[in-house]
Symmetry: C2
Subunit: 349 residues, 2 copies
């Protein structure tokens, strides 16, 4: 297609661009009194609730690769990763702001795709887009999202309330998003080597979907509330179980023991792990971006959570804050290293 088929961003200008991209967004939340288009948005939490706020950056070449991440999925994911943080506080999201910086290599149509995904996430999770900023950048695409939510003043769940003996629970399964990343990255290499070869991802639909279109565990967080289970600590799994358990232990001043065979790992994730010659436990412990929840509950809640299909009890908190360990399949104990995402290892301009 000729380049002229696309609309250059400079044709619209900054103000009209934002207006253009957000005009199809319909207000959903009664809490929002003033949305996009003023110096600030104004909202009023529901009676008795108070605001929570979380923010995240997504940077091209660091957090996503546009050669296999469609812009619509990227828009969707940029909202999900923030809503996940709100749910992880045991709060409910109300509204988001989205700021975008991008080089002029992106035509208006590309941004429309991005905003389609943003809109879809907002509608699915019932939140309003209430503001943002749009700017050019010399290079690349950068998305900064801030999500705001509401919670009862005495019901928000932090990372620091876990006690020794509390059960460590994980929702869904872990490691799949990382498996999806590896598969996509491999197919990209194959494609770059021989553009005639089209990727065949049929056998990897689950793990690829987990990477490209994550969801936030609103269902589990709400069900915990409904069943009267108040986690003593909770966070979402964006950097992997190993990294997150370190956060919970450090802030709660506990140690932890996790059992490798208890980690919920999907068969497709296991298959990918085998293909790459990496142990599935490594995927489950260190794979990021699953956006599942990890939380702790008092042992008294064992009966309530043990039969719940969406929850796996993977271990327990311990007294000794210096020992954060995993019991491997062969019965040996190993220290858990906090291998979060480390984005600073490559020197660039």
């Amino acid at each position: 297609m000729a380049e002229s088929a696309y609309t250059d961003i400079s044709n619209l200008g900054e103000f009209k661009l934002i207006e253009h991209l957000t005009k199809s967004f319909q207000p959903i939340r009664k809490e929002v009194l003033l949305g996009i288009g003023d110096d600030a948005a104004v909202w009023k939490p529901a009676d008795g609730l108070i605001p929570v706020v979380s923010t995240d950056l997504l940077i091209e070449g660091v957090h996503f690769d546009l050669s296999y991440m469609p812009l619509r999925h990227l828009g969707y994911k940029s909202i999900i990763v923030n809503l996940s943080d709100i749910f992880a506080m045991n709060a409910e999201p109300v509204c988001v702001t989205v700021s975008i910086a991008m080089s002029n290599r992106f035509p208006v149509e590309a941004l429309e795709e991005l905003y389609e995904g943003i809109k879809q996430a907002c509608e699915t999770y019932g939140v309003d887009l209430v503001g943002g900023d749009t700017s050019s950048a010399r290079q690349g695409l950068m998305i900064s999202v801030t999500a705001m939510g509401q919670v009862e003043p005495d019901k928000y769940v932090t990372r620091k309330g876990a006690k020794p003996k509390d059960l460590i629970c994980v929702t869904g399964d872990v490691g799949a998003a990382y498996a999806g990343f590896l598969v996509l990255d491999r197919e990209k290499s194959v494609f770059l080597g021989n553009p005639e070869l089209q990727p065949d991802l049929n056998d990897y639909d689950y793990v690829v979907g987990r990477q490209l279109k994550p969801e936030a565990r609103v269902d589990v967080v709400r069900k915990l509330r409904e069943q009267g289970i108040m986690p003593t600590s909770m966070m979402d799994i964006s950097d992997g179980v190993a990294s997150e358990i370190h956060h919970l232990c450090r802030q709660s001043k506990t140690g932890a023991t996790i059992y490798a065979h208890k980690l919920p790992i999907d068969p497709q994730t296991v298959k990918v792990a085998e293909e790459f010659g990496i142990s599935a436990t490594t995927f489950g412990m260190n794979g990021g971006e699953d956006y599942e929840m990890i939380f702790t509950v008092p042992i008294q809640d064992f009966e309530k959570v043990k039969s719940w299909q969406e929850i796996s009890i993977i271990g327990h908190m311990t007294d000794d804050a210096n020992v954060i360990q995993v019991i491997l399949e062969n019965g040996e104990a190993a220290d858990i290293e906090a291998q979060g995402w480390q984005h600073f290892s490559q020197r660039s301009s």
Copy 2:
């Protein structure tokens, strides 16, 4: 100085970096219940108040040039531009989140400078830093700030309440920050041409200060409240009077007449305008980044505002939404073009 004198960001890693940069921030606001270090921050507006939220991006090479903008000033300014938006709603800021993406060319010490400025702004304006994100980027430095504030539910001031005949008021003086930008940019060119020449900015201290270290007009907004003056519309001047009057008119469905000779322009700004062969009126109308307030009040408030030294009445709103004009010094009327910042004119990678 040898490169080894600086600390590479990768030595710390993402989590420790945030912790390191924010450890000297002391909590100020009783409204903030949970600050940095969890999935989200939690705050509780003062009794009877509701949240407002605003967000802004600052991109290297678009919004700032590190060859003359010290990192400490940049940090300060990144907070001010957001607080200014909160004040422009007739609200009071409570807390901010700051997200940074930067290439590895910045050592830890550079980020410390940036956060020193952020801290200074937070302390000066009495707000808490409650969250953020830090990431590498392939190139450049990008700062995304979200500010949250609080306001009485029936006291926030939008851009859409102005009525025909309302007086258009501006705080302080306008055009100075743009004059400062031109002077700094000229000195940079001179320096690049001959590094032996050191810039002499003594004669330009006011305008350079306006560019490098803007302040938010908390004083005027609070005084308006104290004196019982409720603006019918208000916004801060980030893109220039011409651009902002277009926003107010479009949202209020009014026209406007502004008198060029009423524009408050500092003598140093006039001097710079003469040096560059541009009319001072152009500086006053189109110069951005002054972070003064532009607002409208009913004509009944004329007596209250006319004697107030910090306020200039520069014109009035009119019936005809199609006519937004400036009366020039020679008595001629000219249409005001909305020349906001247009960051999308250069094609890049």
